[in-house]
């Protein structure tokens, strides 16, 4: 295979003079394009980011830490972490299973399921939250039934986890479907012929082969889960200290009397997102490298 590409793709040794002339001719056009793209990027992302940083750090680092050093900020962040962790773990397990079913199984309604998986991408998170309130709210039959048994879903952590799961449902699955498809079934079949059962094959062969895809999907899920606002807003009731997540705290802070806290919390969330972004990039590289070798 390597040998094939060697001779099918001869080194691009075109006439050098012509190539240079072309580059020189369009050099100004290219610079203009690059400049335009960079300016656009700066206007949309860098400048607002810098403005936030300036606002948050306006009173100095000490003031920012003081703003963060509040019990409700701690609780909001810890709640965000817990909800994201729970939603990520559940969605990873379910997402891997869903991807395997979509790629490996043939059944009636598969195409429909394949399409519906993407629905959370299209539906506004607020609507997702509303669906959960309608289904599990205290006025609904199911919600009432659960409440009689001491289980509160809406305006409590379970509802917030459900809302986050709804919103982040497609990430792991969408990342894995193409990876699994490209992988094919031969590796699993090879493991079967060597005596490995389904479970053993999944742990020893399938999962190691798709691990970078899973990691990428998980990272996306975490990033989305931490930043989720709309769906959680509807189901949480935004009870300070009880159902207030980091994003809800920020929203609250902006419209009420402690904007310093909101700025500081935003800085933390933005920093976490940046770290996740770098992590995703590293994973993406591993993923592409994994695809390189056919074996």
């Amino acid at each position: 295979m390597a040998a094939d590409s060697d001779w099918t793709n001869p080194p691009a040794a075109g006439p050098p003079s012509a190539g240079e002339a072309e580059t020189i001719g369009s050099a100004w056009g290219r610079r203009l394009l690059i400049g335009a793209v960079l300016s656009w990027f700066a206007i949309l992302i860098l400048v607002p980011g810098a403005a936030l940083a300036r606002q948050a750090l306006g009173g100095g680092l000490a003031a920012m830490f003081a703003a963060l050093n509040q019990p409700e900020v701690y609780r909001a962040f810890i709640l965000s972490l817990w909800i994201t962790a729970a939603a990520t773990i559940l969605n990873t397990i379910f997402g891997v299973a869903l991807a395997l079913v979509l790629v490996r199984q043939r059944f009636w309604g598969r195409a429909l399921l394949d399409g519906v998986v993407d629905m959370p991408f299209a539906i506004s998170p607020i609507i997702a939250g509303l669906m959960l309130v309608v289904l599990y709210g205290p006025d609904s039959a199911l919600g009432g039934w659960l409440e009689d048994r001491g289980i509160q879903v809406v305006y409590a952590a379970p509802g917030m986890v459900l809302a986050t799961m709804f919103v982040t449902l497609p990430f792991v699955t969408r990342e894995l479907v193409p990876v699994l498809r490209e992988l094919g079934e031969e590796y699993e079949q090879a493991a079967h012929t060597l005596g490995a059962g389904r479970w053993r094959t999944f742990w020893s062969v399938t999962l190691p082969s798709i691990r970078w895809g899973v990691a990428y999907g998980v990272t996306l899920t975490i990033a989305r889960g931490l930043g989720e606002f709309g769906a959680v807003l509807v189901v949480s009731g935004n009870i300070i200290g009880r159902t207030q997540t980091a994003t809800l705290y920020i929203a609250d802070g902006v419209e009420s009397f402690h904007p310093e806290g909101a700025y500081a919390a935003s800085m933390v969330l933005a920093a976490v997102s940046f770290c996740l972004l770098v992590g995703m990039d590293l994973i993406r590289r591993r993923l592409d490298r994994g695809k390189g070798g056919q074996s």
């Binding site: 295979m1 040998a3 031969e186 590796y187 079949q189 090879a190 493991a191 079967h192 012929t193 060597l194 005596g195 490995a196 059962g197 053993r200 020893s204 062969v205 190691p208 082969s209 994994g290 390189g292 070798g293 056919q294 074996s295």
Partner: protein, 407 residues
């Protein structure tokens, strides 16, 4: 179009092998005798498989004698891979059964069939080293770590990759990967070894080497092996027996040379090596007066065709009394030890002949020469009667003379 023999079980007779008992014992040290009791390694009975409206396999039956290396040969779409995968348990047949070393395996899941399977694209686990790949099947069987190590070392030695134990599959060449795949399949001491186009993904030179290597390996290892190929040369070089398939049906089973010399139908004749197809009616009788019409009890119809191998034809500058086709030399191609003559009969029938180099020198033809082509051996295909009959021309003439003299 093609006439398949009635699908009944045809036994592939085991070749007498003086080493069989002993060397097999050394290889499959533990439970060896299973295959020996029946002498049949793989038996397929009445296998059928349909994909939607496409009948991939139609009532296929054959046997592979224990310790043999057999090829399933056929063009693409002939159902050969489906049969192999059904034997492995990777696919289920609509009907029919699979017996491995005498035991019915039809209902067994793939994990419990005890088959080694080698895939065309190797399917090596890329997150595992060569050692872990080869040892995978043993680890599944929970063999002691020391035993796994010993066995893997033994196999790496066998495939001549001892120095590569800690490499990953991506660090190996295609040929090396396929050898690792083979070692991995052999490690748990399978009852039978199944290979699906094992050399298909390799380039020509590596393929040739690996073929010879597989043949040698099989001579040492003697595990009952069935491999799928569409390349008749590969089947000829490697296998003890060949099962020829077309349209999901067995066409013929036999030793390579037997298939080549005595094909039972036009498909097999055309698929295995070059063959000339000429109208029998254009064969002139010659001065013996004993033409095709006198060779058979019922004379062939006007549409009957003669199937003649290039080396079963003689070329003469003059008539010598035997039946002949008048032809004209179009091209002469020296091929080392052989010379190939491209001839033409009339306008529409091209004809290819191979003559040994030394004979050709004496003949001294040139393009454009009128020549006489005499068959020594041919097969007559009569579509109307759907029969395909071999004819030894000289003997047919003699017999026809004797019969004629008796009247």
């Amino acid at each position: 179009m093609t006439t398949a023999p009635r699908p009944k079980t045809e036994t592939i007779h085991r070749q007498v092998d003086p080493y069989n008992g002993n060397s097999r014992g050394a290889w499959l040290s533990s439970p060896v005798s299973r295959g020996e009791e029946t002498g049949v390694g793989i038996e397929v009975r009445g296998l059928s498989k349909r994909y939607g409206s496409f009948q991939a396999v139609k009532d296929v039956s054959f046997e592979v004698a224990a310790g043999q290396l057999v090829a399933l040969l056929g063009p693409s779409g002939s159902g050969k891979s489906t049969i192999l995968r059904t034997i492995a348990g990777l696919e289920t047949a609509d009907s029919g059964s699979v017996l491995l070393t005498g035991e019915d395996a039809t209902a067994l899941p793939v994990q419990r069939r005890g088959v080694g399977f080698v895939f065309q694209h190797y399917a090596l686990f890329r997150h595992m080293t060569v050692r872990d790949n080869v040892g995978f099947g043993l680890k599944i069987r929970k063999e002691p770590r020391r035993e796994i190590r010993r066995r893997v070392d033994e196999l790496l030695d066998l495939i001549q990759l001892s120095g590569h134990a800690d490499r990953y599959p991506t660090q190996l060449s295609g040929g090396q990967r396929q050898r690792v795949a083979l070692a991995r399949a052999l490690a748990p001491r399978p009852k039978v070894l199944l290979l699906d186009e094992p050399f298909g993904a390799l380039d020509a030179k590596v393929r040739d080497e690996l073929r010879m290597w597989l043949r040698k390996l099989h001579d040492e290892v003697h595990v009952t092996s069935l491999f799928v190929t569409h390349d008749q040369r590969e089947a000829f070089e490697v296998s003890d027996q060949i099962v020829v398939l077309a349209d999901g049906q067995v066409q013929q089973i036999g030793a390579p040379q037997a298939l080549y010399e005595r094909p039972v139908n036009p498909f097999v004749a055309r698929f295995l090596g070059n063959i000339n197809v000429l109208p029998l009616s254009s064969l002139r009788t010659g001065s013996t007066g004993r033409g095709p019409a006198s060779w058979f009890k019922t004379p062939p119809t006007a549409e009957a065709q003669a199937y003649v191998r290039p080396h079963d034809l003689d070329v003469f500058a003059e008539r010598n009394g035997k039946p002949y086709w008048p032809a004209r030399v179009e091209r002469i191609t020296p091929l080392g030890g052989l010379i190939r003559l491209d001839l033409r009969i009339g306008v529409e029938h091209a004809l290819q002949i191979e003559v040994p180099h030394d004979q050709a020198i004496g003949v001294g033809f040139a393009p454009g020469d009128e020549v006489y082509v005499t068959p020594r051996h041919l097969n007559v295909y009569d579509r109307d009667h759907a029969n395909f009959q071999p004819v030894d021309v000289n003997r047919a003439i003699t017999q026809s003379w004797q019969a004629g003299a008796g009247i």
